[in-house]
């Protein structure tokens, strides 16, 4: 049997590449991924001396490893901690064993509160998804507080980890990211397929929060995950073209302010028995559910910003 193709032509075909991949005769990373070998750390004499002096200082001053009292204390401490934990565990399990079984019809929790949520929820909130209706209409104030928890958590992480832009520029290429593959073709190709799908799916979850399982928190988490994949594949420079610190601030502040304004209008008109002008719409349609749809969207933006900011701050120290 003779080959119809010449060797040169055969090398161009997918079959050749497939069998080459199968036999593992070629490393996919070589010549395609920018990699730098890890250089050995060189330590000068001075640095070595300083390191040893610091170590000695730490051992002598900070840790008193020969102090008998401390050793005995540590042993007793561990023993007491173990006993206490076991005691707490047993007493909590004992208490839980006395609690009513989940799902019994005559439980204290299946009372008029839950009944109204289930029976009248759809008419009163306009949302087919009862959970969305409950957290965003009946108990809207709690959820506003919960969104602010996310906001203040990002503020604290920023305080801790945010670096100046100048320091960041200096540090670029000096930290351990140097040893990661910078433009990975596998990741890039997959991300260019996945990211649009993830973003569209996130938007679907956000806009359908009042109709199907989902809503602001879950949709925002999906959106944030999509952005994290994007920044891993294409790097911070590309991401900053459409999402930098200014845009982050504008998005976050306007989203939270929108939520606050809608919420305040809802609380204050409701409390004073003034008719509010947000129509509930027809149950089951996309534009329905009163305040739930806009709140889901702004909560989604806030959650996505928080997720992305956490990732970027922990990895790079800036957005």
């Amino acid at each position: 049997m003779s080959r119809r193709k010449t060797d040169e032509e055969y090398r161009q075909t997918g079959a050749f590449r497939f069998f080459r991949w199968l036999s593992g005769s070629k490393d996919a990373y070589i010549d395609t991924v920018e990699m730098k070998p890890q250089t050995e750390a060189v330590e000068t004499k001075e640095e070595e001396e300083r390191r040893e002096a610091e170590h000695k200082h730490a051992v002598e001053k900070a840790y008193d490893s020969n102090n008998r009292a401390i050793i005995v204390f540590n042993k007793i401490y561990r023993l007491v901690a173990a006993i206490f934990t076991v005691f707490l565990l047993v007493s909590l399990i004992y208490a839980v064993s006395y609690l009513p079984k989940i799902g019994d019809a005559d439980n204290a929790t299946s009372n008029e509160v839950a009944r109204r949520y289930i029976e009248n929820g759809v008419q009163e909130t306009g949302a087919v998804n009862i959970v969305s209706g409950m957290i965003l209409t009946y108990r809207a104030f709690d959820t506003f507080g919960e969104t602010n928890v996310l906001f203040i958590a990002t503020c604290c992480v920023m305080l801790m980890l945010m670096l100046d832009e100048k320091i960041l520029e200096k540090m670029d290429g000096r930290d351990d990211r140097r040893f990661e593959p910078k433009s990975d073709p596998i990741l890039k190709t997959m991300a260019s397929f996945l990211c649009p799908v993830i973003f569209i799916f996130a938007i679907y979850i956000l806009f359908n929060g009042h109709l199907s399982p989902g809503g602001g928190f879950s949709g925002g988490a999906v959106l944030g995950a999509g952005m994290i994949i994007y920044v891993n594949a294409f790097g911070f420079k590309n991401t900053q073209r459409f999402f930098n610190e200014t845009i982050y601030k504008i998005a976050k502040i306007s989203a939270l302010c929108m939520y606050g304004l809608i919420g305040s209008y809802f609380y204050i008109t409701g409390a004073n028995h003034i008719a509010n002008h947000i129509p509930l719409g027809k149950v089951g349609e996309l534009i329905s559910g009163g305040i739930i749809l806009p709140i889901n969207i702004v909560v989604g933006i806030e959650v996505a910003c928080t997720m992305y900011a956490f990732y970027a701050l922990f990895r790079r120290g800036g957005l």
């Binding site: 909590l92 006395y98 204290a108 929790t109 104030f141 409390a271 004073n272």
Partner: protein, 498 residues
Amino acid sequence: MSIVWNFPAISILLCLFAGIVSSGLSGKSARRLNTVLMITVLVLSAATLKYVSSLGESVVYVMGRFPAPWGNELRFGVLEAGMATFFAVIMILSMLGGHHKLSEEVESRQHNLYYVLVDLLLSSLLALIYTNDIFTAYVFVEINTIAACGLIMIRGIGRTIEAAVRYMIMSLIGSGMLLMGICILYDITGHLLMSNMKTAIAGLVIDGTYPVALLVSITLICVGLAIKSALFPFHAWLPDAYGYSTVSSAAILSSLVSKGYIFLLIKIIYRVVGFNIFNNSDIIDILFVFGLAGMIFGSVNAIRENDVRRMIAYSSVAQIGYIYMGIGMGTQFGMIAAIFHILCHAATKSLLFVSAIGLTDVSGCNRQFIYMTGSGYRHKFAGVAFTVGSLSMVGVPLFAGFISKLLFAESAVSLSGSKMLPVLIVLGISTILNAIYFMKTVIRIYTPAPDSPYQAIKARTIWPYCVVLVFFIAVNLVLGCMSDGIVELIKQGLIMFG
């Protein structure tokens, strides 16, 4: 139905808005916004106080279209509105008293975030005071915890980061216990609204169902809130957190944050569990004993301390012990004394923290006592203010501390059981210990030191700071000299509260 009705809800929402907007402002504008906000909250709370005291009963405010067991609800009477007004006053004074130090303590690009934290902290305190829904309370406890962590950590030096980590671990254990307690209570009562829970719990006690679950949940809530407010055996996070953070942070944390949790505990005792059911449980005795222990051990630690700010911080442990002792007495009088002591301690401790910074500034920023010799002459305002604070903490007539100690002693005498003698004895010992370490400091700052290297340093008079100190002294004197009206207000408030 007047417009004042909306003011508590509006003040909470305004604080949240101000926090959100501040994150995009410059440090200076955020500071202005913060000052305007605090003054607005003060005015709104004072108007609410006037409105409810003319009404004579507590008011229920529905947050949204749906009434209480289904939606969220605020409830406020004289006690809540008075507390909010008082907290706003202390907040304004603490923030203004620390303004001039902020640029030294915090990097300038982080100033706006500092004010974000303060705004949200104020909102959470107001929400804890006004809410009538136990889950809303938990949500705002979370905001309070994270904001307090940020306020400790913002200085960015090693000690504050370590203190913030400690605070976070202890405080999250407290939050976790509170949440577990709330979950168990919800499971056996089926409600999150405080008034409905109270009815359900009263029914459970009469029927005798779920005694174990009820006891465990109340214990978890009490211990959780005790950890968060630094009751004696759980106070290990406190000295570093108060001693090394910024001046305003230390003043706010010691005088307001821990008091917010104690107020929540009092609210749970009255509105969720019921005063009588709580009194008949053994938990109250445990709180009482730990309160007494805290009064002694906090003061002993403070005597051994050689750093003025850590000494003031340890003194907080003792004062928190007083408050828990008042709660632990289990009588209406004890509770009134405890609530008055919340006010007294908030006013005095923030005064001490703010004035101590003036004294250390003229001693080359050294906080050890040896360097502070004669600093009362170098910064006259701070010296006088520190003396006033010390006298008030010791319990000298004219000042706030005297009245609260008098109230504690009076309520102890009216006790019938075995709790009377321990209260009186420990109160006496604790007063002596207080006098030892506070008077030692006062004597030291007024001892002339001719060969001190800081003799030449004269404080550049920062007038806003001095005015703040004068206001602090005035608040203390008002609490000390016009206590009759305030005690009457607390009494009236407690009747509306239950």
